[in-house]
Amino acid sequence: MLLKIESLTKRFGGLVAVDGIDMKVEAGSIVGIVGPNGAGKTTLFNLMSGQLKPTSGRITFEGVDITGSKPFRIARLGMGRTFQNTSLFDRLPLKINMAIARRMRTQSGFFDSLVPLREREEEADVARRAGEALEFVGLAGSAESIAGSLPQIAKKRLAVGMALVGEPKLVLLDEPTGGVGAGDISGMIELICQIKDRGVAVCVIEHKMRMVMGLSDRIVVLNFGRKIACGTPEEVSGDPEVIKAYLGSGYSA
């Protein structure tokens, strides 16, 4: 089991944002996380990748307990992520964005920058991988552009590329098609499938049900911070509680 979450709870004051959730992600699979607004999906992501510390519960990644670890440590263990608002280094070119995302896999420190022996090799490696990653997400042509100047879909693709360039075993994608034009959605779905083909597991938060249903191996449904259903798309879509709580109008439409 790649990722295992046991009775994870997060409280903000009196509000319970995530309430005793159990969840598993198998290596190389795609898990969709769905639920209405405020269901605690993003909070769950933030707990998984360390941006928030859980109130109680346990998270293990490849058998290592990562409960309450700092985000950078979790990232180094092999969990990449994107943010809902597509956070990038807006003032820097794409290739630099990629290089920064690869930085955690390099060893060179300050002294290597003065006497660039090891650094030369690593820089070449970083440049090569950054190029590959840009190519993979289809942005190879705009390596020199400034990240902030990109259209929304390209930003989303860049963010996915940055999450991947550090060679993670699992990536968390927070609404990869949010704010993206209808014509660009299929491209993103294709990209997510390609990630899976590389053997990288994917956790994806989405609102577009049809997309999640088609994409995911397993689906977790959240409502008011609790897991109300979990299983294959078919199992979940047949679950009466899910239909009642959330899918009712949305899915049939």
Binding site: K70, P71, G80, I100, L114, P116, M162
Partner: protein, 318 residues
Amino acid sequence: MTAENLRKYGVFIAALAVACFLPYIGISKFMLNVIIYAGIFSIATMSLNIIMGYTGQVSLAQGAFYGIGAYGLAILTNKAGLNFWMAMLLACLITAFVGLLIGLLAFRTKGPYFIIVTLCFNFIVYVVIKNWDWLSGGVRGQKITGPELFAGREARYYLVLGFVLLTLFIMWRISRSLEGLGFMAVRDNEPLADALGINITYTKIVAFMISCFLAGLAGCLGALHTGYLSPTSAHYLLSFNFIIYLLVGGAGTLYGPIVGTFTVYLALEFMKGIGEYRFMIFGIILILVVIYFPRGIVGGLKSLWKKVAGSRQAEEGA
């Protein structure tokens, strides 16, 4: 490619050529003296650029670290009887070590809180030096005797030029190294950098230590050139000066610190003729520069160049 390189490095090479022969092109002794000080302060401003320009943490403690370097050198040569160069290296290392300790405390805070914590630290260092006879040397102050070789003004000039170039080299390497990538990541987007596996606290502390080391170096050179130390060498107004130099020159640019330091320092020196009004006029100039050129001289020139180049390309394209 060579044409572009020439354009890129042309100004630098020309400036370097002038710098190499500066003492022999009929420049007055006083000018040379002022330029030596400007060179020393530009090292301190470059040190600030590492932590503020590249890593995005505004430190108001650079004056303290300048002072710690200077007083470290004085104590190590005067009280411990160490060889000058040995003492200088040690003084810089001590400064970096103090930077580590302060960094561990201060980097728990962010933004304006960090600014105030560093300012408080600077204030503390100043008051301690002022009140502690053993450190300040009492009414006599601390005397610094440098090596015989660098007794002459010209020799000092080349010594400082050497260290300015060394610091510039370090800055240049950092700005395009993997370590520098980490700095810029922390500056531009901390949460994202964190999510991408960059250890933020570690990165900040490394940047701070390098910055402190170089500020200490500037302090040592300043002490050597003045030959004497008083508590003003660690005053927080010095920190303000460095920030002014950096912002006028352009934070986060390679040449900004040097351009800013020389512009401001030389302008103030020439304005001495008008006595008490010089700071009034300097104040007005400062306000205008920051309002209308918020990215400093070098930053402003860069964007101007881009605009010109951009419009030229557009013409060619059309």
